[in-house]
């Protein structure tokens, strides 16, 4: 299937915009990675989320994570402020002005679910010197392996979504991040957060199916009644009927930073929800690896430089040795 002219122009424009945003010509860049063949993911629809935090409770239970008691001290309930060493998944809220109306930018509020987006071309995997971050070649789930991690925290520093977190208060601390309940998926179960979501705001499925679902929602007319699937797209679960909100016509994660397997729909701008906007269509690893592999491809350049150095230094030190030999005799 060939591209028609219109699609081609769109692609070119998107590419140019991406390059302009990156602010460089991206001369040394490796090709971006492709979506894995059986990629699974999540569609989070901010407009459906009611902020009940059932997903947070289920996440802690499924992953055996400790509660986080904060301000005021001695609270009796789990009260994380953000994802960190104790919390892999969190519902946060955007508030503006009087915060009266849900999913409105001014004087409104909106929920957002934050955790690993399972990038198609993840920076954390590229930067890790010891392959402690891996991406499943089939499902695309990004996992962390603390048994080989050296704790350099380059993944924490480099992740464009600031997802991996380190346990700074533990002398034997480790990196913590959402692994999409890979242990549950291995048993054919649904990731805990998607499993318990009462409204279908957090939906599990194949990335391709989720994108279809998202496009249907974006195409529907605001105000129309729509049947929202719940939990797991591959299962026949009870649905949730509601009206279509005024979505922003954008599926976040479709292209951003090379694409992510966790996708977002929202009625308020994504940067208000804490998701980086104005990002290129490629992951930054394409640039760092582009530079690294141009300089070090098969170690040809270093070998050539070394050969030259050996020749020059040998010649220059021989003269030197004769010199000092004469001095010493």
């Amino acid at each position: 299937m060939g591209l028609n002219r219109r699609d081609f122009l769109k692609l070119t424009a998107a590419g140019a915009a991406g390059a302009a945003v990156a602010g460089d010509a991206a001369a040394l860049q490796r090709p971006p990675l492709e979506m894995p063949p059986e990629a699974v993911g999540m569609l989070y629809d901010s407009t459906l989320c009611i902020g009940c935090k059932a997903c947070m409770v289920a996440c802690k239970q499924a992953n055996n994570m400790p509660p986080d008691f904060r301000v005021p001290e001695n609270t009796t309930w789990d009260q994380p402020l953000d994802i960190d060493g104790k919390t892999l998944n969190i519902i946060k809220v955007y508030r503006q002005g009087t915060a009266e109306v849900k999913d409105r930018e001014t004087d409104g509020f909106a929920f957002v679910k934050r955790h690993c987006l399972h990038c198609v071309d993840p920076s954390c995997i590229s930067v890790c010197p010891v392959s402690a971050m891996t991406k499943d070649p089939l499902t695309g789930i990004v996992e962390h392996h603390e048994d080989r991690c050296i704790g350099c925290r380059y993944c924490v520093y480099g992740c464009p979504f600031s997802v991996p977190k380190y346990e700074f208060d533990d002398p034997l601390g480790q990196i913590q991040k959402c692994e999409f309940c890979v242990h549950l998926q291995a048993k054919g179960l649904t990731p805990a957060c998607c499993d318990v979501c009462p409204t279908g705001a957090t939906l599990f499925g194949k990335v391709s199916d989720l994108k279809e679902e998202a496009k249907r929602r974006l195409a529907a007319k605001p105000g129309d009644v729509y049947v929202f699937p719940r939990g797991n797209l591959d299962e026949n679960r009870p649905t949730h009927e509601a009206t279509i909100p005024s979505y922003l016509q954008r599926l976040y994660g479709d292209k951003e930073l090379g694409g992510t397997q966790v996708l977002y729909l929202s009625a308020v701008p994504f940067d208000k929800l804490g998701l980086p906007d104005n990002v290129p269509d490629y992951g930054y690893a394409t640039i760092s690896e582009g530079i690294q592999h141009t300089l070090y491809q098969w170690m040809i350049a270093p070998a050539a430089v070394l050969a030259g150095l050996l020749y020059v230094v040998r010649r220059n030190t021989q003269k030197d040795a004769e010199h000092s030999g004469r001095d010493e005799s």
């Binding site: 602010g23 460089d24 991206a26 001369a27 040394l28 060493g85 995997i125 590229s126 930067v127 010197p129 010891v130 392959s131 402690a132 048994d147 080989r148 991690c149 050296i150 704790g151 350099c152 925290r153 380059y154 924490v156 520093y157 464009p160 977190k165 380190y166 346990e167 700074f168 208060d169 533990d170 002398p171 034997l172 601390g173 480790q174 930073l257 804490g274 104005n278 990002v279 290129p280 930054y284 690893a285 760092s288 530079i291 690294q292 592999h293 300089l295 070090y296 430089v305 070394l306 150095l309 050996l310 020059v312 230094v313 040998r314 220059n316 030190t317 003269k319 030197d320 040795a321 010493e328």
Partner: protein, 378 residues
């Protein structure tokens, strides 16, 4: 007889005692770090997971350690034999800068006991710039110790062994020029994977070249800085003429750095960020001023042989390269709303202790080992 001699003199002086106390304080703080975790001692957080232990102790420490590299470039690659008296002290500066940088890494690593995985074939990730840095720095530390071995052998009177080593030394000198070229540039490449989190004032594909050039400049800059301080402190004659020539070489690399920096900022259209009213813009101008001032100081042939200006320009460039690295990785880094970082007292005292330990080693080595050139040779 060798051309290098130990300076001799009393080792335990008042400044030396203060340095020992500072190093011991750092050691005590580190006990807490290993017992209670990085968060108990440092101001690092999930927003700012890299603090001064990485950026100052490792990135700036090793750039100071480029003395051995920069001088070797002059003596062995450009074949300027007259700089030979500077080689051994420069190699020693490199030895300490890199060895302590390596120790600082172990202090900073959150899971230091798994350090061996960096060498495990099943685990290594060849896409990782960090891996290149780690291997290359480890190798260079070994090379520096070998390059410095003749000083030990002379002290121990092992002439035969020294003769044998000197035949092979060219191998290590060549590798010792290659390795810093690789990892000092890679220390810059590390930034490119971070993307928009680093301000366009510092985020560029040119960052490997800029880090390399500024490291060479810092390698030269530390020579007059150290030479003049030890001339004053150890009551030795100034090496004014030699340092003047070295400053000229430094000036050439410095101008190359500034040309690349300015063209890159212009090419990317990043100058706008320099005129905003924020810390990043202010620190950008501080950095640029520190780089440009020495150009003005050294431009005339008369000034270049003035020990005061040699010292000042060297000092300014050491600061410039340091601020450039801090700007790239800390000031220019935007962790998002709600995060901030300023090093804690404990964190600062560990860094102070690491550098104190470096000076302790320097004093011990120059007084006890044949490092500095025979004074009357000039």
């Amino acid at each position: 007889m060798s051309e290098h001699v130990p300076v001799g003199g009393r080792l335990i002086t008042k400044p030396f005692t203060i340095l020992i106390l500072l190093a011991m304080l750092a050691f005590a703080i580190l006990v807490a770090r290993f017992l209670f975790g990085l968060g108990s001692v440092t101001a690092m957080s999930d927003g700012y997971p890299w603090g001064i232990w990485i950026v100052i102790d490792v990135m700036i420490g090793t750039a100071f350690g480029c003395a051995g590299y920069s001088v070797a470039l002059l003596v062995y690659v450009m074949n300027k034999g007259e700089y030979h008296p500077l080689v051994r002290p420069a190699v020693m500066a490199g030895l300490f800068g890199y060895t302590l940088g390596g120790i600082a890494v172990m202090i900073d690593l959150g899971r230091y006991w798994q350090f061996w995985t960096l060498l495990w074939p099943g685990y290594v990730n060849l896409n990782s710039v960090m891996l290149e840095v780690a291997w290359c720095v480890m190798a260079y530390i070994v090379v520096l110790w070998i390059e410095f071995t003749p000083a030990f052998l002379e002290r121990l009177g092992m002439k035969n062994l020294k003769q044998k080593l000197s035949k092979l030394l060219f191998l290590f000198i060549a590798v010792g020029v290659l390795l810093p070229t690789m990892h000092q540039s890679s220390l810059g490449t590390l930034a490119t994977a971070v993307g928009f989190k680093i301000s366009p004032l510092w985020q560029t594909q040119m960052v490997p070249l800029l880090f390399l050039l500024s490291a060479v400049v810092m390698g030269y800059a530390i020579v007059p800085f150290e030479s003049i301080l030890s001339a004053l402190g150890l009551k030795r004659p100034f090496e004014t003429k030699l340092l003047g020539k070295l400053s000229a070489a430094m000036l050439v690399v410095l101008i190359a750095y500034l040309v690349v920096r300015v063209i890159d900022l212009t090419w990317r259209g990043a100058w706008g960020y320099a005129f905003e009213l924020n810390t990043q813009a202010i620190m950008f101008w501080v950095e640029m001023a520190l780089f440009v001032a020495p150009v003005l100081m050294l431009m005339s042939p008369k000034n270049i042989y003035n020990p005061r200006l040699q010292f000042l320009s060297g000092f300014s460039l050491l600061l410039a390269g340091s601020v450039y690295r801090i700007n790239t990785y800390i000031i220019g880094y935007d962790a998002g709303p709600g995060w901030s970082y300023f090093p804690s007292a404990g964190e600062i005292m560990v860094t102070v202790g690491v550098f104190s330990f470096e000076v302790i080693l320097y004093l011990f080595f120059v007084k006890k080992l044949p490092v500095l050139h025979r004074a009357e040779a000039h």
